[in-house]
Symmetry: C2
Subunit: 263 residues, 2 copies
Amino acid sequence: MSLPPLSLSILGVEPLDEFIKEIADFVHYTIINRPPDLQGKVEVEAKVGQLVDTSSNRRLELPILVETIIAPQSIPLRFESNMSVEQHKHFNTRLNELQNSSMQPGFPSSPLGYVHLKLYGLRETTKTGKVLECMRKIRLGDLNIYSPKRAVDWRVSVNLEVPVSHPIGSPTHTRKKDRLSYSHEEFSIDLTQVTASTPNGPPTVMHELEIEIARPTLLLATAAKRGDPNAPELERSAFDELIRAFVNNARILVRNANEGWQP
Amino acid sequence: MSLPPLSLSILGVEPLDEFIKEIADFVHYTIINRPPDLQGKVEVEAKVGQLVDTSSNRRLELPILVETIIAPQSIPLRFESNMSVEQHKHFNTRLNELQNSSMQPGFPSSPLGYVHLKLYGLRETTKTGKVLECMRKIRLGDLNIYSPKRAVDWRVSVNLEVPVSHPIGSPTHTRKKDRLSYSHEEFSIDLTQVTASTPNGPPTVMHELEIEIARPTLLLATAAKRGDPNAPELERSAFDELIRAFVNNARILVRNANEGWQP
């Protein structure tokens, strides 16, 4: 007894993905309503980490079984964008493998690019004193995603990167970033080791993973056309397609935070 | 500036749908572990209704933005399988329209069937005293789905329908069901008006909507082959395909509980 081929649904199509739609609505709203007086680069990123209940100082626990989006300002919590050295190494290994296999014929997606960067953040200089980067990141909004089946939660952020004038005087602290940056189509996946040091105390080392929409100008162009009845269908839906692939990739990273490497 | 075609993800495929997987795992586990001594028909259904917080007697409220599955036994709640007369009428109109349009050429899915039934439940007889149905429904397990964006929540249930011997004596109460039953591929969608009356008191009228997997034997056959490494891929994945279409249809019904008719 075997199953005859099934339609996707009684309507013949997939139902709306409420989760992806919610994230797309949030990102779109935040971009469209950003402060008009601030000139800067719009950054949309998903960070992998843990949602911490600030009353218990432990990972958030809700009586639900699968990933969901937390209502903003509903629960006292913070997001810790950090992972273990083992998780960092696991992602490094798997992303390198993926990068290699993506070059082979028959791979079902585009090849991944790769670059190794060393970055020095705001008010920070290299040993020779040259300022490499001077940006201020202004947070426009976040959505927290609780993922009880996985070792990690995640956060979608919309930021504005505003150039600032070069700092004067000697840095009060340094934040050194060692970044493995993978690129895939419209996204960059950054695996970063952040070493922060202050004059008085040992340096702290954090491990971060984030996926970012690579081209802010494309992001803004698609956001402007979203749902525009005068735009051709392809342009009208481009923003939602971009966010769908962004969420798909974030879900794959989150699912594989511990072991294996599965869709 | 337009968006180049995107891959589904860095792996070239859709990520796992955690929500559908959770429901499939639950249904599979409940079927496989059903009491071996009870002979009966396995019924898998999704009912539309509301999750009621028993401490406040109001609809459940959780600090989350999109549909999710409630952990069993985690919150004191009950499920009310009821809707307003207007919702019932809305579904009736839309399902009739869908049934008509599904007969037209170019419809992206199979045509829907339709039948109007009048049923009399357990320990109940028709006016002429003929017993039409005598089944006892044994509840094996439920999963509650909270859907804060929609007017309704839903519940997936696995039941065992066991035939019972004909009742003796006169009925203590009557439950009359007026059912509009739509069929689509492996599913039946039942829109039912239930009139319950007792000897002392006015009758109560409830409106129910549920979708059910139509062929218990097919359900059991696919469940038995799920993940079986010796079965061909098509048979191995048939159970998950069946549950996917079941969940897709339930999501479409839930989304359209109030107005419109969208995927």
